[in-house]
Symmetry: C2
Subunit: 361 residues, 2 copies
């Protein structure tokens, strides 16, 4: 908690309001507020979500995205489902709730965090046998806020551990969006950058646009610009040229899943960026909460790679960018082998090779 | 020349009409016909150019692009300027011609081939002291056709030399567009692929979409699909993932300028692709005519890199893909150091490291 007079970097920064960091989502007057990421960077529109069906639609449309942010949204979704219970003294009737929650879980079936958060919400309240609907509602809301705050805290710790790796003035390349828009806090890889800046360091960020969905150009650039952190957008094929032209101090990326040996699945393009960093002797860091480490995966070879639809690569709004019917290679993620990763920055500290990540779980 | 009964691979292929290779431009009934590349891949539209002003517009709009193709178009442009002279017995009046040709030269000031072709056209006719305007016109047309045929022949030779490097079945990655659409013949890097297929080999091509202008997705995919060569489009950050997932036999790219030591300037993204190939032990070939070798450049460090406008990276049609005012890194080219280039395929043969390219000039 950031109490008045608490002298750590985080609280000092918040007090001085040095950075204007975005929020992906927040709870306000019985409503889940989502910054509609489909409208960025052109417009800053807040969605006021009061029904589970609206949240499902928002998740499907990617108005909210990023595994941690989706998990938190799902937790608040359970609160929305229980809204009719608020201040009621009747005993809980689970049937009505169950169908709404099942639908919510299916909003994005591959998002592990969504199911994880929903399960945790249900477990908390059902095990507590609340005496009334009102008490159940209050317990749901408290737990959703816990989930949100825990994520915020994890981001803060990742930021603190990672910032120590950056010097007073740094030029950093990042990929995709791993910031406030993807989490309940300051983010993972971008969290490291925010933390360094809050500690008074100067960071110039180069953001890969991150084809096909352009999370780097659309979201990372928007977030950093808003926070007054210098940011330059480039296409995904430019990092090698940039490293050749000027000194780059680090590459920092997020992670979707990390094997015990450190092999890391992340947004497509990450592996190529890691090879490029390796060739130029630029440190390559992965920043992620320990929950991203999968203790059941010994190596990255076992990580299944989601294949996305063709249209993400060959359509742009209404424009067709390749001939009709052409084949497309469209993996959503790639796996960076551990030998190209200089360190993994987690909420429990920085881990260096050789990696045996079970040791920090 | 491809005479009946000539048994070489090129003529056999043309006779059997095995491939339906596109044409960027051709001369027909006193008219320069250009395939309008701004309309591809959606529509196949031919521009019928009869005035120099129309050609200038077409070059500016990138309806015709690729250094060799622009050079050939410029040569035909001089013919268009001299069209009023056709069949006239009056002596040439150079004044009228000169202003049109100066304007043509400025259509794309950085395109060295354009000035080179125009100079050659003027030199040929002015030195020949033609007795009449009609004779001058005929000499211009003959020289433009020479320039066109010479480029066609160079592509054919590059293709022949390069095809020998591919085995019976090959998976090849390429970048940008270096095919029939960029040259007066079958192309350079794509020329190698066409030649291999014409010789009966099977080639599966993976085409980098090539941000920011998407020449790979728009043009290379269209050309190869039309020629019935299997082609798969991918974003520029996917090559490392692809090489990790399946065997790739070669990367073949073109070149904008090659230093004597083999360092090669080519479309942005090429260098990163070369590093990726190197990390996976995949041969990385540059295919280009010897005219691309600059004998005045000892190393790639001396090659000036054109910086393009921001809007190419952060706008897509009417869509803004990054926040207003964001900084953009937008080099048009990068330089691949010679140590990452397995061989340079030219019209005069294949050169291997250590490179001293003066030896083949």
């Amino acid at each position: 908690m950031c109490l008045p007079g608490n002298g750590n970097w985080w609280c000092r920064s918040l007090e001085s309001n040095a950075l204007n960091i975005a929020n992906a989502l927040w709870w306000e007057e019985d409503t889940l507020c989502l910054l509609d990421q489909t409208r960025l960077p052109a417009e800053e529109v807040t969605l006021h979500i009061t029904e589970v069906s609206e949240l499902i639609e928002a998740i499907r449309k990617l108005s909210v995205r990023g595994a941690p942010a989706i998990g938190i949204a799902g937790a608040y979704g359970v609160v929305l489902a229980a809204r009719p219970w608020k201040e009621s003294s009747h005993p809980p009737d689970w049937e009505q709730l169950t169908s709404e929650i099942s639908a919510l879980r299916e909003a994005r079936p591959t998002a592990v965090n969504l199911s994880w958060a929903i399960d945790r919400m249900i477990r908390t309240v059902s095990s507590a046998h609340p005496p009334s609907r009102g008490a159940a509602y209050d317990a749901f809301l408290a737990e959703a806020k816990n989930i949100h705050e825990e994520d915020e805290e994890r981001c803060r710790r990742i930021g603190e551990h990672g910032a120590a790796l950056l010097s007073e003035t740094s030029q950093v390349i990042t990929h995709c969006n791993t910031g406030a828009l993807a989490t309940g806090g300051i983010g993972t890889a971008l969290g490291v950058i925010y933390a360094a800046v809050m500690q008074g360091r100067q960071v110039q960020v180069y953001a890969d646009e991150t084809r096909p969905l352009l999370q780097g150009a659309r979201l990372t650039a928007w977030e950093l610009q808003r926070a007054n952190i210098p940011v330059t957008v480039m296409t995904d094929g430019m990092a090698a040229s940039l490293m050749d032209q000027q000194p780059i101090d680090a590459v920092i990326v997020g992670a979707d899943r990390i094997a015990v040996n450190g092999d890391t699945a992340n947004k497509i393009g990450t592996y190529q960026l890691a090879l490029t960093a390796h060739s130029h002797n630029v440190p390559f860091y992965v920043a992620a909460p320990t929950s991203t480490i999968d203790p059941d995966l010994e190596t990255g070879r076992e990580i299944p790679i989601e294949i996305r639809g063709k249209s993400e690569v060959v359509r742009w709004g209404n424009l067709q960018t390749a001939p009709e019917g052409v084949d497309v290679y469209a993996p959503a993620f790639d796996v960076t082998p551990n030998r190209y990763i200089s360190a993994i920055i987690t909420d429990r500290g920085v881990v260096r090779p050789p990696y045996n990540l079970r040791s920090i779980l």
